[in-house]
């Protein structure tokens, strides 16, 4: 059977679609794990959207190095500051990304890092304040299977 280039590309392109569909088993596992991590971090407290802003690219050129950052609106005084921020990659086989712990000496509760994303998914940033209140922000990042050449 003669496989035309067009057919080969379409077959290959199907893989892009696959990246977003994922597998049911993996999604279920990640959700359980994420729920557990969120419950542990928040102490069961309800999370409010706001105060924390997550910055992430809309499309990541490569899933192994995705730059993300966050800032939290807080006076960062001894009585009123951000204690920690937890990042979760909700679609990764292991959703935990990292937890960043701040002090009033931080001056500003913000950080930048580079993360691995296995596929298109939501990244969640959750902030815990010194008074225990919880805030959150979420962003969807599309991850492409691109990059020719080796």
């Amino acid at each position: 059977m003669n496989v035309t280039r067009r057919q080969t590309f379409m077959l290959g392109a199907g893989a892009v679609a696959f990246a977003t569909l994922g597998s049911q088993a993996t999604i279920a596992f990640a959700t359980e794990e994420s729920d557990k991590l969120i419950a542990e971090f928040s102490g069961g407290k309800e999370a409010t959207a706001g105060k924390i802003k997550l910055k992430a690219p809309e499309i990541a050129e490569n899933g192994n190095t995705v730059p993300i950052s966050f800032t939290v609106d807080s006076p960062m005084t001894a009585d009123n500051h951000v204690a920690s921020v937890m990042l979760l990659a909700l679609g990764n086989p292991g959703p935990a990304v990292g937890t960043f712990n701040f002090t009033p000496m931080s001056g500003e509760a913000s950080a930048s890092t580079r993360i691995r994303l296995a596929k298109t998914q939501e990244v969640l940033a959750m902030a815990k304040m010194s008074d225990g209140s919880i805030f959150m922000d979420k962003k969807t990042i599309k991850v492409t299977i691109g990059g020719c050449g080796g």
Binding site: A13, G14, A17, I59, E61, V66, C148, G149, G150
Partner: protein, 286 residues
């Protein structure tokens, strides 16, 4: 019936995904300006009158904004751990002669300025063009009494990125005259020859379709002004020949040998296609 339906659904989903991605992403090279550590880089030059393209673009112009940003700052640029190592190796004694690069070449910042910008160069000893990696190995063997190392060995990449950095901002300037012209022609022939199961040549993607997408990758002109390059895909630096090899594998062709005549000729020709672009070594790409 079931399989056909599923394939059709996938095909529609894919077309949908492509339509989405084309509307978000630019189809051509973007207009962004590259400034690295305060130095403005030339990422576009007018093509030669009889040249293959009207405008010659650095690969930087085809990358996403986040990837582009990584190259603008020497701390953000993930290649610099290797550059630091290269700087260390420069003064490290290695081999039987008790010498280091610095023993002959003093400060790289002075003596290596412009070297990478004009590689590959003509080599009298072998009557062939010689790449930077091959020149380093020549020095290692003949002067340091040290073993040759592979093009993509971590120490070699540390050296080529450190030495390459000393040409950053300078225009690519390869000599294709005299004895080099035969090799440039050889490289040109390879560039335009279809090979492999997919029956494609370098030109099919990098000349005929640059700016378009192949699957999710935004095709560049395949210029090599930034090599050795830190590729997010490799999570590390890689040489020109490694990249050539990867492209050939993608089209299901048997790759030529790293450091062999074909890739050296191809490197010379491809470098000449980027004449005038600023050296960006070590560049960041996807």
């Amino acid at each position: 019936m079931g399989i056909t339906t599923r394939f059709t659904k996938l095909t529609l989903a894919t077309i949908g995904a492509f339509a989405l991605s084309s509307s978000i992403a630019l189809a051509d090279a973007d207009d962004n300006e590259l400034v690295i550590e305060g130095m403005k880089m030339t990422t576009m030059v007018e093509g030669a009158e009889d040249g293959p393209v009207d405008e010659v673009y650095s690969g930087w112009r085809f990358r996403s904004e986040e990837t582009q940003a990584l190259e603008t700052d020497d701390f953000e640029n993930p290649a610099f751990s290797a550059v630091d190592r290269g700087k260390e190796l420069w003064t490290t004694v290695t081999g039987s002669e008790g010498k280091s690069c610095a023993s002959c070449h003093d400060k790289a910042e002075d003596t290596m300025k412009g070297v990478r910008a004009s590689m590959p160069k003509w080599d009298k000893a072998t009557s062939k063009p010689i790449t930077l990696e091959q020149q380093i190995n020549r020095c290692r063997k003949d002067r340091l009494g040290a073993e040759k190392i592979k093009f993509d060995n971590a120490d070699m990449l540390a050296m080529t990125s450190y030495i390459g950095l000393q040409s950053r901002g300078m225009p690519v300037n390869v000599d294709t005259s005299g004895p080099m012209s035969e090799w440039a022609e050889k490289g040109k022939k390879i560039y335009y020859t279809r090979v492999g199961q997919l029956d494609m040549s370098c030109a099919n993607c990098h000349e005929d379709n640059y700016g378009k997408r192949i699957r999710a990758d935004h095709l560049s002109q395949g210029q090599i002004n930034g090599f050795p390059t830190y590729r997010l895909k490799w999570n590390g630096l890689g040489s020109v020949h490694r990249r050539f090899k990867g492209c050939m594998k993608n089209i299901r062709a048997k790759p030529y040998k790293v450091g062999g005549d074909e890739f050296v000729a191809l490197e010379l020709y491809v470098a000449s296609r980027g004449q005038g672009l600023s050296v960006e070594t070590p560049a960041v790409r996807n």
